[in-house]
């Protein structure tokens, strides 16, 4: 129950600092854009026409075309929300761990009957909860609006929300590690964005090999590739899942989760040993 108290406390802090509210407002504006500005009337009009006159072979082909249009729109939106959602989530949560570790605050928390790992993990899960609630609102609301507008209820779109939360979880594990070691929100943000920025480059690192003078730099790039989350590939996976395409490999997700778990365990280990 005390563990849940830390999560609740983190949510309360986020709410009080308006980050939760800001996140919510941005998402609501996005929904309003979908609701009023996004033109999918040709889709709904086409669907309605097909339904009115029954479904023969030609009409099935029309439905299939419309379906692909809707999926195309949704997979594009999912990719956009993947990027925007993670961007916002990083800013919304970057200060949580460093704030907890400030002198005067951390003393009060460490003097309570918690194991240190409970305190840090509770804070981590609290941040994840903040993002999960907002992402659920983002994706769930977008799905409802799009589905209502198009008449086409494409549930794989919801899977993009799950992937966004998982990817954020991995990035936040890195931010938690940096937060515990550097105790600085700015450095945590930089660390997360470095991962996001370099991920697409690492994906095409074989094209960079030719520019590198020695083999060791290639190994270094390979090492970084395998030891950092593959956010670029996960963006592609998100799009593919929403588009209903077969995902060639789930290795990027599994590897990223493993990296995230490693950073989180590292953060807990350092936190256990640290003097405050």
């Amino acid at each position: 129950m005390r563990f849940l108290a830390i999560i609740a406390y983190t949510l309360r802090e986020s709410f009080a600092k308006k980050t939760f509210i800001a996140f919510f407002v941005v998402i609501t504006i996005t929904h309003l854009l979908f609701l009023f500005a996004l033109n999918v009337d040709l889709v709904s009009g086409g669907m309605a026409a097909v339904q009115l006159f029954g479904k023969d072979v030609e009409q099935q082909i029309e439905i299939e075309k419309l379906r692909k249009i809707v999926i195309g729109i949704e997979s594009g939106l999912a990719l956009a929300m993947y990027g925007a959602g993670i961007f916002l989530a990083i800013f919304a949560t970057a200060s949580l761990v460093p704030n907890m570790l400030e002198k005067g605050s951390v003393d009060l928390l460490l003097s309570r009957p918690f194991a240190r790992w409970q305190l840090l993990l509770g804070r981590y899960l609290g941040a994840l909860s903040i993002v999960a609630i907002n992402v659920a609102y983002l994706i769930g609301g977008a799905w409802l609006i799009l589905s209502t507008k198009t008449g086409f209820w494409h549930t794989p779109f919801l899977a993009s929300g799950v992937i966004i939360i998982l990817v954020f979880g991995v990035l936040y594990a890195i931010m938690t590690f940096v937060g515990v070691t550097a105790r600085n929100s700015g450095v945590s943000i930089i660390a997360a964005y470095l991962v996001i920025f370099f991920s697409p480059l690492l994906l095409v690192r074989d094209k960079i090999y030719a520019l590198l003078s020695q083999k060791i730099y290639q190994w270094l790039l390979d090492g970084i590739y395998y030891m950092t989350p593959r956010t670029a590939e996960l963006g592609n996976i998100t799009r593919a899942v929403v588009a209903g395409e077969t995902v060639a490999s789930w290795t990027p997700l599994l590897q990223s989760l493993a990296v995230g778990a490693g950073f989180l365990m590292g953060a807990i280990y350092i936190f256990q040993k640290k003097d405050f």
């Binding site: 003393d107 009060l108 460490l110 003097s111 009957p113 240190r116």
Partner: protein, 316 residues
């Protein structure tokens, strides 16, 4: 029962270059008010943080209630008021107490009962619904004390509990401390305010440069042996001379005598002398050193044994 026990507890920083705590051994029993004094940088806060496992010791041992301090469940029985505490300023006073009560594992029903009681005890009942960013320093200190008591702890660790509090508030806090002692609680106080410590503490330890220089009951530390101030009616010069001959460790001041005797028998001989010479005795007051004087003497390097020696040589 021993509540706090440390054995050669040390904490070094910078690979041993800074010895914040150096071989500290002390014991604090139940239902005692123990004061820890020392100049800035003496190691007082370091010791308290080691007891709470906020810092990890370099060597030595520390136990609370007979168990290693690393056992985090011990902290269910502990209340802590840090020196520079920072509660989340977006919360109201009552909410701060509720959250930290939750963290301490206090059930909801108990929190609902204890929060208004404790806020009233520290004089903050009217401020429970106000965000703490509007609190003054003294109010924050009172709230901190209430939060430290939310889980009805058996041991209270208070670091500068009256810092920033007005004189009336200080008296109220002293009364709370004494009331808690009567309830069987153990209170461990870090303080710079020697007069405050002298008023509430049963026992004190004085630290300097990471070591305990002297430790003992307040009465013992402030005692300078069998020294008395005796006020009498006017003494003739011949009487004064006779007194000086008979009683070597006697200091004739303006209107009174200060004398150190070897034992009570010698004191009684002095009283007999006055009576024989028909000198009126107005008062016989045991001399004490203030805790402040003891503190300065200790910091200058004296041990508890040396205190009395210093005083004897001063009188002679």
């Amino acid at each position: 029962m021993t509540i706090i026990q440390t054995e050669n507890l040390s904490k070094h920083f910078n690979r041993g270059k800074l010895r914040a705590l150096d071989g500290v051994s002390l014991q604090v029993g139940a239902a005692r008010v123990f004061g820890l004094l020392g100049p800035n940088g003496a190691g007082k806060t370091t010791l308290v943080k080691l007891l709470l496992a906020i810092l990890h010791q370099t060597s030595g041992t520390a136990t609370l209630f007979g168990k290693p301090v690393s056992d985090y469940e011990l902290r269910r029985r502990i209340g802590y008021l840090p020196e520079n505490h920072r509660y989340p300023d977006f919360l109201k006073g009552g909410a701060v107490m509720d959250y930290f009560g939750r963290f301490a594992g206090v059930p909801k029903e108990q929190r609902q009962q204890r929060i208004p009681e404790l806020l009233k005890l520290v004089g903050m009942e009217k401020w429970a619904a106000t965000k703490i960013r509007k609190y003054s320093k003294g109010m924050m200190q009172r709230l901190g004390l209430a939060v430290a008591m939310i889980n009805d702890p058996d041991l209270l660790l208070l670091d500068e509990p009256t810092d920033g509090v007005d004189p009336i508030g200080r008296k109220e806090i002293r009364d709370i401390i004494l009331h808690l002692k009567q309830q069987g609680k153990t209170i461990f106080i870090n303080s710079h305010l020697l007069s405050e410590v002298e008023m509430v503490c049963d026992e004190v330890a004085i630290m300097n440069k990471g070591k305990i220089v002297v430790q003992g009951p307040v009465a013992q530390l402030t005692s300078i042996g069998l020294s008395y101030r005796i006020e009498t009616s006017a003494l003739a010069e011949s009487a004064k001379a006779k007194l000086s001959e008979k009683f070597a460790r006697l200091d004739l001041q303006n209107g009174h005598l200060e004398v150190t005797v070897q034992d009570h028998a010698e004191l009684n001989r002095l009283i007999d002398h006055f009576r024989e010479s028909q000198t009126e005795i107005h008062a016989i007051v045991p001399q004490r050193r203030t805790l402040e004087e003891s503190f300065f003497a200790a910091i200058k390097g004296a041990t508890s044994g040396d205190f009395n020696e210093m005083t004897k040589s001063a009188v002679e």
